[in-house]
Amino acid sequence: MKWLLITSALLYVASVRRPIFVAALGCSLAYLASRGLALGRLPLIGPQDTLAFFSGALGLMALPFVYSRQIAGVRWFSWGCGALAALFAALALPFPTINMPLPPILDTYWFELHVALAFFAYGLFGIAALLGVAFLRGGGRQALDLQYRAALVGYSFFSLSMVSGGIWGYYAWGTYWLWTAKELWTSILWMFYSLYLHLRLKGQAWDRGFAWLGIIGFFVTLFTYLGVSLLMRSSHSF
């Protein structure tokens, strides 16, 4: 069923119009559903499945923003979201699929909830970064307001992901916290968006800084997800 993932990547790249974006998202979700049915669980193990899941989560989270009237004036926004989702779908393609059953320690709903919520958050942080670019390129204050909403909802998902991860860790390993590179970067990411949300209290003089922070946040997200998993040894490594 890899052709569904390839089709979604191609359609995402071509998503200059919203119906194409929806079709790309449909293919992406159909691919994830087919993987889930084959495995009997959410496809969340290994780089192939997680990158494909990230791409799908990004597309799904982007949908309300793509159809938002507030950003209708920014013509490239739908394509921007599509290009970002296409990038991660394309990155997933070279990796082999891992079809093994879940190791006993991962075989719990807390694990699936933890990872799925993290990817929804990552997707929203990506959308917030694009909205930051839209604001800096003259998209108006509405782009910045939408950026705040995307980041706030992403932060909420991410906080819930950390809570479910803590509960899972407590039942699986005996502790809700481990001092590993992944946990440290997860805390950095959470603290970064806490800082971002607090910065809004400083008023409109900080609008540009606020937009830039939303963009930088996505790079912190990518390092937390890909950088730490690929470059550093931790319980979350691929």
Partner: protein
């Protein structure tokens, strides 16, 4: 003097700088050998590790703890200050309260946490501090199609009867959690157990609940704005 101290700890700027400090120290620490699996940081309570580790190894964590300690006071004073004024939403302050409880939970675990591993064959036992013995009655496991263990379990006999432990299903007894980490079935059934005490777990859970309630309230308030 007190007024000046109060307004310093009430400052948003101070909070922003402290958050930056926490992020910077954690980022530096993530590249340190201390946070690697061989660093020993996960093998003992944090405060014991901090007392024993050389400063050249642990300096980033001392700085991080210092930033978090001041951030704790900053968040507390800001919330108290905001709640004294009428008409303010309590949502951000519930989130602050959750954050404060989670920091407190880490402090409790950093002081009173405990972890010990035992590798025991079927029939062997280990003891609790009060002398009670835990006997490993039976170790079982299933090997999956790819040769890996797809599930395993141990039956443990305690004073009050036999209890099973499985991955993600520990046994809680006398304030300790007994976890089964791994099993080998041949030549004789052997299991790797870990006994944990995490005194901050309940406080962290209550903190997480408060934070989530505050977060949901904030989302509801921001909806449509």
């Amino acid at each position: 003097m007190l007024k000046k101290l109060y307004s310093t700890f009430c400052s948003l700027n101070l909070g922003l700088w402290l958050m930056t400090g926490v992020m910077a120290t954690l980022a530096l620490g993530s590249f340190s050998r201390a946070s690697s699996e061989s660093g020993g940081l996960n093998e003992m309570p944090l405060l014991f590790w901090l007392q024993r580790a050389p400063l050249g190894y642990s300096w980033w964590l001392w700085l991080c703890v210092a930033c978090i300690a001041v951030l704790f006071v900053n968040a507390l004073v800001c919330s108290i200050d905001a709640l004294r004024r009428k008409g303010r939403s309590i949502a951000p302050h519930l989130m602050h309260a959750g954050f404060l409880l989670i920091i407190l939970a880490h402090l409790l675990s950093a002081y009173g946490g405990f972890k010990q591993q035992f590798q025991l064959p079927q029939g062997d036992s280990f003891g609790f501090p009060d002398g009670e013995r835990v006997v490993v009655e039976r170790i079982t496991g299933q090997v999956g199609p790819m040769g890996m263990m797809s599930g395993y379990r141990a039956d443990l006999r305690l004073k009050d009867g036999v209890h099973g432990v499985q991955p993600n299903r520990p046994l809680f007894h006398q304030g300790y959690g007994i976890y089964i980490k791994d099993v080998a079935l041949s030549p004789v059934p052997v299991a790797l157990f870990e006994v944990h005490r995490e005194p901050g777990a309940l406080t962290a859970f209550i903190g997480a609940l408060l934070f989530t309630v505050g977060n949901l309230m904030l989302l509801a308030q921001r909806k449509g704005r």
